[in-house]
Amino acid sequence: MSNRRPVGRGVLSLLCLAAVLFTGCTRTQPAAIRFGLAYVPQKLDPRFSTDATSSRLIRLLYRQLVDFDRRQRPVAALASWARLSPLHYRFRLDPSRARFHDGRPLTAEDVKATYDSVLDPKLASPHRSSVALIREVRVIDQDTVDFMLSKPDPAFPGYLVIGIMPKHLLERGHDFSAAPVGSGPFRFHSWPQQGLLRLTRIKDRQLFEFVHITNANTRVLKLLRGEVDIIQNNLPYELTRYLESKKHVKVMHRNGSNFTYLSFNLRYEPLQDRRVRLAIAHAIDRAQIVRHMFGRKTRLAAAIFTPDHWAGDPQLRSYAYDPVKARALLRQAGYGPQRPLRLVYKTTNVPFRVRIATIIQYQLKQVGIQVSLRTYEWTTFYSDIKKGNFHLYSLSWVAVKSPDIFRYVYHSASIPQTGRQHASVGANRNAYRDTLVDRYIEQAEQTYDPAQRVRYYRLLHKRLLETLPVVPLWYEEHMAAVRRRVRGYRIAYDGNYDSLAAVTVRR
């Protein structure tokens, strides 16, 4: 008996302690705001992330020197800049900038350390090529840093979008992907499993949980049941409409800028004939597809940049649906019922993409083109596309802002050389060659006068639409569905999650 009593007391006091701790925890930590993600973020290290989800989360955790405005022109973010000469830029860090999450101040040394790390060939960062023109980063003082370039490039400040990381942790080889440390409005809390990431909003210690839910139906049901508060994009239009009929949920739409296109392989002899490509452009009823398959803010595309992009062209119109003209063009090119044009169209096995491809296949069949569809999972599909192993494929350019994309995609020097080790230097995967386009790209790259650059890019857009290396399809809208208790969420022009910094919850 005398033995037992202390044990009993111990248990009792432990229970009390646990009760106090437990209630204490619930009081200091407000309920989390949950965000349903369609894809798992791959890496939260700004030097290595390439997927859209990671990039959007990285914007919450880190701050970058340069950002973009609504017309996608580079603007000052963490730093403002001045061009001292075409090869010399001076950046002044924002004096009111936040400290790193570990309490250390962010200085010019950290900027240098971040870019030196990305530029280090041993690190093999996928972003190295985009900043390879930086010859040297020089620290002038705590708040000032100079970027010296190896060649002039008017688009240059737009490349400095890598989140700034603390020098002392970079030197130590800290694993930023496992425990990110930046100076953004959100601090890393925990990442207990691949599909659950927790971040804390610094200003009010509000906890945010990013939950991975692959299946669109499940994501919608979880939103309706209140297991997540916000979901964004990656829903079939039918589910968006279904959500619009629910009163606990608010559905928002916004113009998107992700450019979806149908690409031709110009190595394939029948597709070298412009009449054939034109016939295909006229045979696809894009307006009908957009009306029935996409949200109301989806727009028809005529070029890689939207009309509201600074280098876009609001006057540009793509080809109208005209099956009669399409058949006539095919006849001129020597195809008809006796000799039908046969093409292989590759796409990913994402059900929504297969749906779109099936509709395009049917519409092309109506003008006499026999298309066989091949659906592959992403890795196989992408490797085939990179190797040039296709006749037709459709894909989107996601979050393209800077006009250096023209060189990357349309310049004849960017045709990937199969068999070479550096096959990924360019993305001119359809082997498009046009001397005029090459010249416009080069001239625009050498011009600092903004009006003149816009003029070149508009000429470029027009020439690309004439020569048709790809059929521009549409810019898909962004949509978000938010439970009504959540206030202040806005869809960003590029679909980023920045407005989470201002979101509040009604309790």
Binding site: P236, V354, Y362, S372, R374, T375, E377
Partner: protein, 268 residues
């Protein structure tokens, strides 16, 4: 009795759809964007799918793929597996050892993984799907046949046949297989359902039928994405598949009873 007739009627109509489907004026691939996920009307008695194609037409033309794939795969697997298994069990010794180890190796992998690997090597297409699934499907039958044979090979009539100088293959075919056919037939009836589902999985990975060709598996797969808003897209092929599997199992059951001498005698 009613159950058997019902099952027979279902299976007959399945076979009829598969055989005379191509002769009917169907439009399984005609897309109509206005009709996306619409309910039944005069042109489409079962409604429309996710790109506005008539579901009934797709159901009938999809029956063909599902029918031929499942019948062929199950037939090839049953014949091949039973023969290999029964012979190995009967002959014994080194042959049995080698066959058993091969079976073990096959069983060590998840079946669908091997099918995917094989179909991946062979390339997309329905004929390759049949080859890939058969070359994995025989294993289950072989194991079953071998185990059953081991318990039968010491029976008197088998011994008698051996003493009379009958060849092993003849003994297996005439004296052992008829006795072990009942469990094999039951196994085969289960196989039909799993083959239809496996075909859907392969089509999903781009290794089976390619769009717009309809197969029941791919119809179910496409439909599940819209369960919340248009459940008929998945219910139509789902119910069809359910009826087929149920009927095959019912008939398989009846067949087993009929093949089993004891039940027939007691019933008589």
């Amino acid at each position: 009795m009613f159950k058997s007739w019902f099952a027979l009627a279902i299976l007959t109509s399945w076979a009829a759809m598969a055989l005379i489907g191509p002769l009917l004026p169907l439009h399984p691939d005609s897309v109509d964007l206005q009709k996306i996920m619409a309910g039944p009307d005069a042109q489409a008695w079962l409604g429309y799918d996710d790109v506005g194609r008539p579901l009934l037409d797709r159901l009938i033309s999809g029956a063909r793929i599902s029918f031929f794939v499942s019948i062929l795969v199950v037939a090839i697997s049953t014949v091949l597996g039973s023969l290999i298994g029964a012979l190995a069990g009967y002959v014994g010794g080194a042959v049995d050892f080698v066959v058993s180890r091969v079976i073990d190796i096959f069983l060590a992998f998840p079946g669908i993984l091997l099918v995917i690997a094989l179909a991946g090597i062979l390339g997309p297409g329905i004929d390759n799907v049949i080859i890939a699934m058969s070359s994995v499907g025989w294993v289950g039958f072989a194991r079953l046949a071998r185990a059953q044979t081991l318990s039968l090979k010491t029976r008197d009539h088998v011994q008698a046949a051996r003493v009379l100088g009958t060849k092993p293959l003849t003994i297996v075919l005439r004296h052992i297989l008829p006795l072990i056919s009942a469990p094999l037939i039951v196994e085969a009836t289960f196989g039909i359902a799993s083959v239809v589902i496996a075909e859907a999985g392969l089509s999903f990975l781009g290794l089976g039928v390619q769009p717009p060709t309809a197969s029941w598996g791919s119809m179910i797969r496409d439909g599940t994405a819209y369960m919340l808003v248009a459940s008929h897209i998945v219910i139509v092929p789902g119910v069809a598949l359910l009826l087929i599997v149920l009927s095959v199992n019912l008939l398989g059951d009846r067949l087993r009873d009929w093949l089993d001498v004891r039940t027939r005698l007691s019933a008589g």
